[in-house]
Amino acid sequence: MSGRARAALRPLAAAAMLLVAAAATLSAPTDDAVQSPVETVGPAGRTVVSRLAEADVHGVQAARRLALPAGSAERDSTTSGVWIVVDVTVACRLTPCGFGESRLQVGGRSYAPSPIVPGASFATMNVGPRLRYRTSALFEVPRSALAAGRARLVVQGARTMALEGVPVITMRLPDAVRTSAAVRSTVLVGAAS
């Protein structure tokens, strides 16, 4: 190859390498994706198990207000949005854990669980392993979020590391918004398998 041809090839080769670099950058997973735990996905009504936690969603309601458990201090739960009340049984598997880092994913947005219920609730509980607790996970979302039709509940504790597994439950959102939805007290229901 002549020196002139080689000189002409250099900028082309450089441009090709830039294109490859751009493609690699654009297709690379985001930091969030790299550092997020690995999801074990299952539908509502089935126990979804990861290494550190398990969860089983029994039902979902949407309501404008919450009917807190008897004996709870009075709390104003009126919202301009809507409450998503998820009836769920959860268990830690190897270590004491909580579920405060859980989130409800609806239409590309994530919502943190509400700690509005005083005492032990889905957002604040810290429980021992291999024990199943039934509770209500509460999420305050905009009314427009219901249009998505479906949601994902990511059940995650505070000490979940990257590459750790988390259960994710997919569920259908209700079409109708009730005036009020009953919130369960957090109750130990038995031993996990």
């Binding site: 190897l94 291999r130 130990l188 038995g190 996990a192």
Partner: protein
């Protein structure tokens, strides 16, 4: 050496040095903050073991559940153990220590934190008088701690009480005290020191 290699040797040497250097630098960064747990001794049931200048032994252990008149939910039980702690000629270095229940099972070894006295009382469990409820890193003389754990039925079989104390920087030391295979007389019935 080809002319191309000769022309680019500086860059090639830089890459050959930089890549392993990056790997060496980045791997330890991921490990910063990760505490390594080291089991210093597995003590057979009935024997005593030493950790950080203190000598520990389980002198009684049992499961307390519905069959013994408690109101624990079906499938769950309270595992109680009395741990005797004695000073030795060596002064403890660590400022803290803690007790956990540890038991093997499906998915790996699980750990339970002790119940607070008001938690175990909720199920009808009565603690013995004169027992400490937790570990003391700087005791004077001998003391007995009554530690109670909420766990699935049958957990006590093959379980141990782990005494945990900080070790060298980045490490945690664990003394594993095996519980007796056949439960000893009830912990709460033991006389206080």
């Amino acid at each position: 050496m080809t002319p191309w290699l000769r022309a680019n040797r500086a860059g090639l040497i830089a890459i050959a040095v930089a890549l392993p250097l990056l790997a060496v630098l980045l791997v330890p960064v991921q490990l910063i903050g990760v505490t390594r747990t080291e089991v210093v001794e597995e003590v057979p049931a009935g024997a005593s073991g030493r950790l950080d200048g203190l000598r520990y032994s389980v002198i009684a252990a049992d499961e307390f559940g519905r069959t013994k008149g408690l109101t624990t939910p079906a499938g769950t039980t309270l595992v109680a153990a009395v741990v005797e702690v004695r000073t030795t000629d060596q002064r403890p270095v660590a400022a803290t220590c803690s007790f956990t229940l540890s038991a093997p099972g499906a998915g790996g070894r699980a750990d339970w934190d002790p119940q607070q006295p008001f938690d175990s009382a909720r199920y009808g469990y009565r603690r013995g008088d004169g027992f400490a409820a937790d570990c003391s890193a700087a005791p004077t003389g001998r003391y007995r701690a009554e530690v109670v754990f909420l766990a699935p039925e049958g957990t006590a079989r093959g379980a141990s009480v782990d005494v945990t104390a900080p070790g060298a920087p980045g490490t945690t030391q664990v003394l594993r005290l095996r519980l007796p295979a056949a439960p000893a007389p009830t912990a709460a019935a033991l006389p206080a020191r």
